[in-house]
C-alpha cells in the first residue's frame, strides 16, 4: 500500500452526512485491520460540525429508517428515533473510531486522475489522494429565491432548526412543500406568518400537512395567511439591525409588498452541477435535478471519483450509509456483494438460470422502454420492492424451495393477472413473453410483448378495473406495488408521462367503443390537458355556450340544474360530462360541479367533431349513452328532496365510497347488533360506531370506513401496511407500526389507534382456562404487551358472506353501498 504523507491520502471522503460518516467509519475499520500507523483517509467537512443537514432538521423531529426491507450495513449506528438520538449515535461513533475529520474544509474543485487527484480547498491547503468519495449531498446547494439579496443571512434563511426562538415577528415562508408547511405551522404559533405558494394549491404536500395548513389558513383566529399564485419579485434587506425588511410579490391581484422580520425559503435543493462539471463529471441530462451517470460501484465517468448518497440519487439515510460502507470496499478492491444482493436473488428466484444478478438486471432494464430514464440504482430498488410472475420455461427454472414473500409467483399460461370488475393495486410490466389484455368486457383480446405495461387505470381513477389480463406462454412479468409506481412517477417525468398517456388512452378507448384504433387516438391523447377541480368548484355554468366536454379522470362530478341547484346526475371516472352541448344544442342545460376533488380531461369541440366525423359508429354509441343519461337525469329531477340529500351524502364521502355503511333510521331499532357483530368478528373491538356520525332525514351515516375509491389513508403509510382486496375493501395489515398517519389522513375519522387485545375466546374455553392455572398465567403474559395499531373496518374480508354488521341487522336498516348505488338510494 502506498505510504501516506501529511498531505496525501489513499482516500478523500467529502461530506460528513450519513454516507460520508459511514464511508469514513469503514475506512477506519480497514486501517485497523491492516495495521496502518496513520489514517489512510481523510474526511472533509465544510462546516465545523458533522451532519449539518440532519442538524438543520427541526428540533425533536422523528427520523425514519426507511426502507424497512433493507438491513443496515455500516460501522456507524442508525435506527429510527429523534433527530437528537440519531446525531448522538453518530457523534459517539465518530469519537469511537477516532475518525480523521478535517472541519471547515470546503472543497472548491478536484483535478487530476485516478491515483493522483488534487483536492482544492478554500483555504488553499494542498491535499492529494488516490481516490475521492463525494458524499456531500445536495443540501449544500439549496435553491435560492432567485432575486437580488437572496444570499443566506439573518434575514433570509434557508433552514429553520428551531422555529421557537422567534416570537412576535412577521415571518414569510416561501414554498409549498412539506418543509415549508411544517416551518410555517411551527412559526405561526408565536409569530404572524405569510406563506407564499407559487400555485393555487399545496399539491406536493403530504395529506396530514395539507389538512393542517388548510385548516390554519381558513381559521380566522390563526396567524397564518396564504398568498396563492404568487411569486417573489424582489426583496429588500432591513436597513439596520432590528428594522423590518420587505418582500415584494406578484399576486393575481397585482403587486404586493409585505414588510417582515424574517424570510424562510424552502424551495428544495439541487445537485451542485457547476462543481460536478468542474470536476470533469458528465451529467445525465440537461434537467436542473439531473445527476451524473454512475456504474454499479458508484464510480463516475472520471475513474477514481465515486458518488454516494443523495448525489447518486439516494436520499434515504440507511441506503446512503450502506453505500458508504460498500464504496470503501470497492475502492480498496475488495469483492463484496451489496447489502441488497440476497433480496434480488430471491426476487429472481433462479428464473434466469446462472446469469449473474447484475447481468439480469441490465437485461431486464434494456427490455423496458418506460423505465429508460430511471437510474440503474433506482431500477434495482424497484425490483426489490416488486414480484415476478413467471410462466412456462421461466417457471421451470424457478427454485421451488424459495417461497414466501418476494419469491417469483408461478402462473400457468393464460391464467389471470388482473380481472375486470376487481380493484388492482399493482402495476405490471412485461419483460419476457407476452400478456393478453381485454380492454373491456366483450372486446377482443390483444396480445402485447416485452415492454408493455398495464394496471394503471385502477391506480389512477380509483374505480375497479375495466380490463382483464392473462399471462402468455413463457413469460416474465414484473408486478410493482402502487406505492413504488407512484413514487417513481412523482420523481420521474418520463415515467409519469408514459403511464399517464397509457391511462388516458385506455379511458378514451373505453368511451369510444366500439373501438377506434389506438393510433387514431394518440394525437388527441397528446393534446388533452388535465384540469383539477377542488370539491365545490364548477366545471361549467348552466346556460353558457359549451365549447368542450370533459372526461372524468378521478372523483365525482354532479350535474345540477335550476336555481335551487337540483342534482340531476352524478358522473364518475371514465364518464363524460358536458357532451350534450357538443352533440345537441351548444347551450349548457345544467351546471357541472365537482363534489369531491376531481380531475378531468378537457376535449375541445373541434377535436370531438373530427373524431365523430371520422368514426360514424362512435357517434351512434355516444348518442345511445347520452339518451340513457338523459332518462336518468329526468328521473332524478322529479325528486324534490334529492338535491339536499345528495349534498349531505356527498359531504359524508359517499361520492368516493365503494362500500359505505348507511343506516335507514326509519328501520333501525337501535339494538346495536351491528356493533356487537363487528366486535365479535374483530377481536372484541368494534370498528363502527352506530350512534356517531351524521344524519339527514332517514339516512344515517355511522362512523365506519367508506372504502374510498382513492383511499386517503393509503398515502404516506411508512410500512406500506394499507392494502386493498380485489373486491375493493381497504384494510390495514399487521405490519402497521401505529404511527397514526392514516388516522390523520382519513377525512371521515374512521381510523382509530387502539391497543391490540386478544380475540375473545368462546365461553366454554374461558371457563376451562380459568380453571387451569398453567393456561391462565400464559394469558396474562401475552396480555401485558400493549402495542398500538391502527384499526378500521375491513369489510369483513376474513369472514365469508360479507360484512357482519349488515348480516346481523335484524330489520334491514343497515346496508352497505358504493357511489354508483347513490341514485337508487335517492329514488326511494
Amino acid at each position: 500500500m502506498q505510504s501516506t504523507t501529511a498531505n496525501h491520502y489513499e482516500l478523500v471522503i467529502i461530506g460528513t452526512g450519513p454516507a460520508g460518516l459511514s464511508a469514513a467509519g469503514r475506512a477506519a475499520q480497514l486501517d485497523l485491520e491492516n495495521g496502518a500507523s496513520s489514517p489512510t483517509y481523510i474526511l472533509l467537512e465544510s462546516a465545523s460540525d458533522i451532519s449539518s443537514n440532519v442538524r438543520s432538521y427541526q428540533k425533536g423531529k422523528h427520523v425514519m429508517n426507511e426502507p424497512g426491507y433493507l438491513d443496515l450495513r455500516s460501522p456507524m449506528r442508525f435506527s429510527s428515533g429523534s433527530r437528537e438520538e440519531v446525531l448522538g449515535n453518530w457523534e459517539d461513533d465518530t469519537a469511537r473510531y477516532a475518525l480523521n475529520i478535517r472541519y471547515d474544509s470546503e472543497v472548491t474543485g478536484i483535478s487530476g486522475s485516478k491515483g493522483a487527484f488534487d483536492i482544492q480547498l478554500r483555504d488553499k491547503t494542498p491535499l492529494g489522494c488516490s481516490a475521492v468519495v463525494l458524499a456531500s449531498g445536495t443540501s449544500g446547494n439549496v435553491r435560492l429565491i432567485g432575486v437580488e439579496n437572496d444570499r443566506p443571512s439573518d434575514f433570509v434563511r434557508y433552514t429553520l432548526p428551531d422555529p421557537y426562538i422567534f416570537s412576535d415577528q412577521v415571518a414569510v415562508v416561501i414554498g409549498a412543500g412539506d418543509s415549508a408547511i411544517e416551518d410555517a405551522l411551527a412559526l405561526s404559533k408565536q409569530n404572524y406568518v405569510h406563506i407564499i405558494n407559487r400555485r393555487s394549491e399545496f399539491s406536493r404536500a403530504k395529506a396530514g400537512n395539507l389538512k393542517d395548513v388548510l385548516n390554519a389558513i381558513n381559521d380566522s383566529d390563526s396567524r397564518l395567511e396564504c398568498h396563492y399564485d404568487s411569486s417573489v419579485m424582489s426583496l429588500q434587506l432591513p436597513a439596520a439591525q432590528g428594522d423590518q425588511g420587505c418582500l415584494v410579490l406578484t399576486t393575481p391581484q397585482g403587486e404586493r409588498t409585505i414588510p417582515c422580520d424574517l424570510i424562510i425559503a424552502r424551495l428544495g435543493s439541487l445537485p451542485p452541477r457547476a462543481f460536478l462539471e468542474k470536476c470533469g463529471l458528465t451529467m445525465s441530462s440537461q434537467a436542473a435535478g439531473a445527476l451524473p451517470d454512475l456504474d454499479r460501484q458508484y464510480q463516475s465517468d472520471v475513474q477514481g471519483i465515486y458518488l454516494i448518497g443523495a448525489l447518486s440519487g439516494y436520499p434515504l439515510i440507511k441506503q446512503a450509509m450502506n453505500q458508504g460502507q460498500d464504496v470503501v470496499d470497492f475502492v480498496a478492491g475488495n469483492t463484496i456483494v451489496p447489502a441488497d444482493h440476497t433480496l434480488i436473488v430471491k426476487r429472481l428466484g433462479g428464473a434466469f438460470g446462472d446469469k449473474g444478478v447484475d447481468d439480469v438486471l441490465d437485461y431486464m432494464y434494456e427490455k423496458i422502454p418506460l423505465l429508460q430514464s430511471v437510474s440503474p440504482i433506482a431500477f434495482r430498488e424497484l425490483i426489490i420492492e416488486s414480484r415476478l410472475f413467471v410462466s412456462g420455461e421461466w417457471a421451470d427454472r424457478v427454485d421451488k424451495t424459495l417461497s414466501g414473500i418476494g419469491a417469483p409467483v408461478i402462473k400457468p399460461e393464460n391464467s389471470f393477472l388482473m380481472e375486470a370488475g376487481l380493484f388492482v393495486n399493482k402495476f405490471y410490466i412485461v419483460v419476457e413473453g407476452s400478456v393478453s389484455i381485454q380492454p373491456y368486457a366483450s372486446a377482443a383480446w390483444e396480445s402485447s410483448g416485452p415492454g408493455a405495461f398495464f394496471g394503471e387505470s385502477c391506480l389512477f381513477s380509483g374505480r375497479s378495473q375495466a380490463s382483464s389480463a392473462v399471462i402468455g406462454a413463457n413469460s416474465v412479468i414484473i408486478e410493482i406495488p402502487r406505492r413504488i409506481l407512484i413514487k417513481l412517477a412523482n420523481s420521474n417525468k418520463a415515467v409519469r408521462e408514459g403511464v399517464d398517456q397509457s391511462f388516458v388512452l385506455g379511458m378514451l378507448q373505453a368511451i369510444f367503443k366500439p373501438k377506434i384504433p389506438s393510433k387514431n387516438l394518440l394525437g388527441l391523447c397528446a393534446r388533452l390537458k388535465t384540469q383539477t377541480f377542488e370539491a365545490g368548484e364548477q366545471l361549467y355554468e348552466e346556460n353558457t355556450i359549451g365549447d368542450c366536454l370533459y372526461l372524468v379522470r378521478s372523483g365525482t362530478i354532479n350535474l345540477v340544474r335550476g336555481e335551487n341547484r337540483k342534482i340531476i346526475a352524478d358522473q364518475y371516472a371514465g364518464e363524460l360530462v358536458g357532451q350534450l352541448s357538443l352533440m345537441g344544442h351548444p347551450r349548457r342545460h345544467n351546471s357541472a360541479v365537482a363534489t369531491t376533488r376531481a380531475e378531468a380531461l378537457v376535449i375541445d369541440a373541434v377535436d370531438f367533431e373530427e373524431l365523430l366525423h371520422n368514426n360514424p359508429t362512435v357517434r351512434k354509441k355516444l348518442e345511445d349513452d347520452l339518451s340513457v343519461l338523459l332518462q336518468e337525469n329526468n328521473s332524478l329531477a322529479t325528486h324534490d328532496s334529492s338535491a339536499k340529500l345528495m349534498g349531505f351524502l356527498m359531504k359524508q364521502g359517499l361520492g368516493e365510497a365503494t362500500n359505505a355503511l348507511v343506516i335507514d333510521s326509519s328501520l333501525c331499532v337501535g339494538c346495536d347488533n351491528c356493533e356487537k357483530a363487528c366486535e365479535d368478528t374483530h377481536g372484541g373491538v368494534s370498528r363502527l360506531q352506530r350512534a356517531l356520525g351524521d344524519s339527514l332525514g332517514r339516512f344515517h351515516v355511522p362512523t365506519a370506513c367508506r372504502h374510498c375509491e382513492t383511499p386517503h389513508c393509503m398515502k404516506d403509510c411508512p410500512p406500506d401496511a394499507i392494502h386493498r382486496t380485489p373486491s375493493g375493501s381497504v384494510y390495514i395489515a399487521d405490519t402497521c407500526i401505529g404511527c397514526g398517519n392514516c388516522e390523520s389522513n382519513c377525512p371521515y375519522n374512521v381510523i382509530e389507534l387502539v391497543a391490540t387485545s386478544e380475540p375473545k375466546a368462546p365461553l366454554w374455553s374461558r371457563l376451562f382456562n380459568a380453571l387451569s392455572p398453567s393456561n391462565s398465567s400464559g394469558r396474562a403474559e401475552t396480555g401485558s404487551v400493549v402495542v398500538k395499531h391502527a384499526m378500521k373496518c375491513d369489510a369483513c374480508m376474513s369472514v365469508s358472506g360479507g360484512p357482519a354488521c349488515v348480516r346481523a341487522c335484524p330489520t334491514g336498516a343497515a346496508a352497505r353501498l358504493g357511489s354508483e348505488q347513490l341514485l337508487s338510494l335517492l329514488e326511494k
Binding site: S666, N673, A677, D680, A691, V799, S800, C809, G812, A813
Partner: protein
C-alpha cells in the same frame, strides 16, 4: 343487486309470507280431512298428531332465532331473513296449534295453559313487530335526525346557562330555579319510561314545600307570575325573561328526550313478556308431550 333497506315483512319479495300461506293451507287440508270420520276432530287423531308435531317443531325452530342472532360469524342466511321467517312462521303457529287442539281449550289444565302461554308469546311478538315497524320512524322524527347525545348536550348547556342566570336573580327565585334543575327527573323503571311519567319536582318558596314540576309546568308558571311584578326593575325583568325562555326550550328538550326513552322502551318492553313466556311455553310443551304419551 338486492334492494337496499327492505322491511322485514317484504324481505326477498315476501318469501316467508309464501311459506306462511303454504304451511297454513297444508295444515288446514290435514285438519279438514278429519271431518266425516266416526271420531270428532281432536288432538288425538293422526291428523291431530301431525299438526301437533308440526307446531312443536315450529316453536322449537322459532326459539333458534335467539341463538342465530348471537352467532355473528354464522353463514346461515342473514339475521334479517331469520327475523322475517320468525315473524311469518310465528304467525302460523297459533293457527296450526288451534287446529291441533280442534278447539278443545276450555278446560283448565296443563294443556290449555301451554296454549295460553303460546298466545302470550304470539301477542307480545305482535306488539314487538308493531313497534319495530312503526317506532323507528317516529323516533327519528322526534330527534330530528340528530342523535340523542346531541339533545342531552343541548340540555346540559341550557342548564348551565340557567344556573348562571339564576345566580344573578334574588335568592327566592334563584333557589326555585336551582331546585327545578335539581329536581328534574328523567328515566326510571321501564314502566316509568314507557308511560313517560315525569316525577320532576321543585321547592316552592311561596308554598314552603316540594311540589310537582312535571313537564316543567310549575317553574314556568312561577316565572310567568313573577315577570309582571318585575316591571320596574329592568335588570331583573331581563333575567326573568331569559330564564323563562330558557325553561321553554328546556321543556321542549325534556319532551324530546322523554319521548325518545318512551320509544326505546317500547322497542324493548315486549321482550320482557316474549322471552319469559317462551321459556314457560317450552316447559309447558315438554310436560304436555310427556303427559300425552305416558298418561293419556
Amino acid at each position: 343487486m338486492t334492494q337496499l333497506h327492505q322491511s322485514i315483512l317484504s324481505w326477498r319479495n315476501y318469501r316467508y309470507l309464501a311459506w306462511f300461506i303454504v304451511s297454513v293451507v297444508a295444515s288446514l287440508l290435514v285438519f279438514v280431512s278429519q271431518f266425516g270420520k266416526p271420531l270428532p276432530p281432536s288432538g288425538s287423531t293422526w291428523q291431530g298428531y301431525v299438526l301437533g308435531t308440526f307446531s312443536t317443531l315450529l316453536i322449537i325452530w322459532l326459539t333458534f332465532l335467539g341463538l342465530r342472532k348471537r352467532r355473528y360469524r354464522s353463514q346461515m342466511g342473514t339475521v334479517q331473513g331469520w327475523v322475517s321467517a320468525h315473524v311469518y312462521l310465528g304467525l302460523s303457529v297459533p293457527i296450526v296449534a288451534f287446529m291441533h287442539s280442534a278447539g278443545q281449550i276450555e278446560a283448565l289444565n296443563i294443556h290449555t295453559l301451554t296454549f295460553w302461554f303460546m298466545m302470550v308469546v304470539i301477542v307480545s311478538g305482535f306488539i314487538g313487530l308493531y313497534a319495530y315497524l312503526h317506532v323507528p320512524e317516529r323516533m327519528n322524527e322526534n330527534i330530528g335526525g340528530k342523535n340523542i347525545a346531541h339533545w342531552i348536550r343541548e340540555l346540559s348547556s341550557i342548564d348551565r346557562q340557567l344556573a348562571e342566570t339564576a345566580s344573578a336573580i334574588n335568592a327566592d327565585c334563584c333557589s326555585e330555579i336551582l331546585s327545578a334543575l335539581d329536581g328534574t327527573s328523567l328515566g326510571g323503571s321501564k314502566l316509568v319510561q314507557l308511560l313517560g311519567v315525569d316525577k320532576s319536582t321543585l321547592f316552592s318558596v311561596e308554598q314552603g314545600k316540594v311540589i310537582s314540576n312535571a313537564d316543567q309546568a310549575a317553574i314556568i308558571r312561577i316565572l310567568s307570575e313573577r315577570i309582571p311584578l318585575a316591571r320596574d326593575d329592568e335588570k331583573l325583568s331581563i333575567l326573568l325573561n331569559t330564564s323563562f325562555s330558557l325553561f321553554g326550550s328546556r321543556q321542549q328538550m325534556l319532551r324530546i328526550i322523554r319521548k325518545d326513552m318512551r320509544y326505546k322502551s317500547l322497542l324493548s318492553i315486549w321482550l320482557h313478556l316474549h322471552i319469559p313466556f317462551t321459556v314457560s311455553l317450552l316447559i309447558g310443551l315438554m310436560i304436555h308431550v310427556f303427559v300425552i304419551f305416558f298418561y293419556w
